[in-house]
Each structure stands twice: as structure tokens, then as C-alpha cells.
Symmetry: C2
Subunit: 125 residues, 2 copies
DNA sequence: CGGGATCCAGCTCGATACTG
DNA sequence: CAGTATCGAGCTGGATCCCG
């Protein structure tokens, strides 16, 4: 996503995947869409911590990245549904692996994450 | 990593994993350490796109998160080696899944990623 | 060789309000 | 219900220099 002048080797493939998943809620969105939560308002309800604005931005990016598809029903009130594309589905194993690992090590990680605000900012304080 | 007032549900485990992997080079670092690249200078050489500063910062975070261990040999010149902890090793399936997916879909993704600078900044231009 | 400090630009995200 | 615009704050990472 960022990177400036340096060439873009995309080193090991991991970087590529990270770029696709970059955005605070993208992987979560995929996770829920995969589970049948397809409408914006439902997604919003599923991820209350995020704003509609951010959700929309990341939804758009996911769409542009070809991971999800969007269906607009020209109704009143408007109705929109998102769905995984085959590319998006191919990413599910990764998401699931993350999901599983996160859940498995939650007990171990939460204290560590909490205790580690951020290195750089701390230094300058 | 960020998040302010809203409670920290860590929704689906994915979020947790993402936090651990947060940092541009962390997953890449894990990837290489897993492959036997253990010394700072070697890692630096393996990931030339990153600065030593950032590498160190993220290495420290990985260590504090319990994903890697650090061995300091009190020599002259100094010698340091990083290694995966069992927690770090347990994350390898995830990294590998990312690695694999990224490589498999590289051809599809690169054009899309390139064509999609970022939604928000564009809007304000 | 390894590590840290400073300075600084860029990006991401949250809050809020508004339109169709 | 869906989507966007603006404002602002925070964090991340790059460049560079210096110390053990």
C-alpha cells in the first residue's frame, strides 16, 4: 500500500496478501460476508466498532481488488448485497487460518498486546 | 493497534492475528526467520526495502509479543540471533497460507493493486 | 555488527452531517 | 437504507545521524 521509491519486489507473497488485506476491517468483512452477512447494514451491525464510512471504503477496495462482488437492487429503499467472488473465496483458507490462530492464542496474546502500546511513540515520550 | 473508545471485542480472532502481524514487515520477518535467517544483518539483506530502524522496531515488537526469541552473544563485534518461539512457529501455517495465496494470485492482483491507490485520498483531491 | 534518537511525510481511521 | 464529504487526530514508516 505505501512504499515510495524503492522497487516493489513484493518480497515473498506475504506482502501481496497483506496489501489485499490492508485496512483495519477488510479481513473481518470478508469473514462475515463469507458467512452470509451480505448487506451493508448487517455488516455494520456485525462490526459495530467500525464506522459506515470506513466500512464502505474498505468494501469498495475489496470490490476493486476483485475479492467481492456487489449487487445493487434498484428499489426503494435501496438494497445492496455483497458476495465473495471466486478470488475472495480462495482467500478464505487464509482468513480462517488467521481466525483460528487468533482464537486459539487469544489468552496468550491479549495481555501481550495490551502491554505493548507501540515502540516508537513510547521512545519519544 | 489503534481503536479508541469503543470496546475491544477483537471480533473474530482475525483482528487479533492482524494485530500481531501489524507492521509492514513483521510477517516477512517471521517468514525469513523461519527459514533460518536469524541475524539482523542477514534479515536486513533479505529485506532491503526496509530500514534497519523499522526492522529493529518490528523485531522488538515480535519479541515482546512472544513470537520470536532473541539471543545476544556478548562478543566483539556483537552477535545477535533471532529464532521463532513455539508461538511463532504456530503462526507459520498462517504465514504460509498468506505466502501461498499471494504467490498464486500475484498475476491477478498486481494490476488491481496498482490501479487502486487509495479511496479516501483520491476523494479529497 | 547491533541499536537507538530525531525529524518528517504519508496514510488510515473516527466523528459528524448531508444527499438520494 | 445506502453512500459520500469534511475535519482532525493518531500511528507508521522512511531518512539520517550517532553511540556501544
Amino acid at each position: 500500500m505505501y512504499q515510495k521509491k524503492i522497487e516493489r519486489t513484493l518480497d515473498c507473497g506475504v506482502v501481496l496478501t497483506k496489501e489485499v488485506l490492508h485496512g483495519k476491517w477488510k479481513s473481518t468483512l470478508l469473514h462475515f460476508i463469507a458467512r452470509g452477512v451480505q448487506r451493508p447494514s448487517d455488516l455494520q451491525r456485525a462490526i459495530p466498532s467500525a464506522t459506515r464510512r470506513v466500512l464502505n471504503i474498505q468494501l469498495n477496495e475489496l470490490e476493486q481488488h476483485g475479492l467481492i462482488g456487489k449487487t445493487i437492487y434498484p428499489q426503494l429503499p435501496p438494497k445492496v448485497e455483497y458476495n465473495l467472488t471466486s478470488l475472495g473465496e480462495s482467500l478464505l483458507p487464509v482468513i480462517d487460518a488467521m481466525e483460528q490462530w487468533g482464537n486459539e492464542h487469544r489468552a496468550t496474546l491479549e495481555p501481550l498486546l495490551a502491554a505493548n502500546p507501540n515502540a516508537q511513540a513510547e521512545a519519544s515520550a
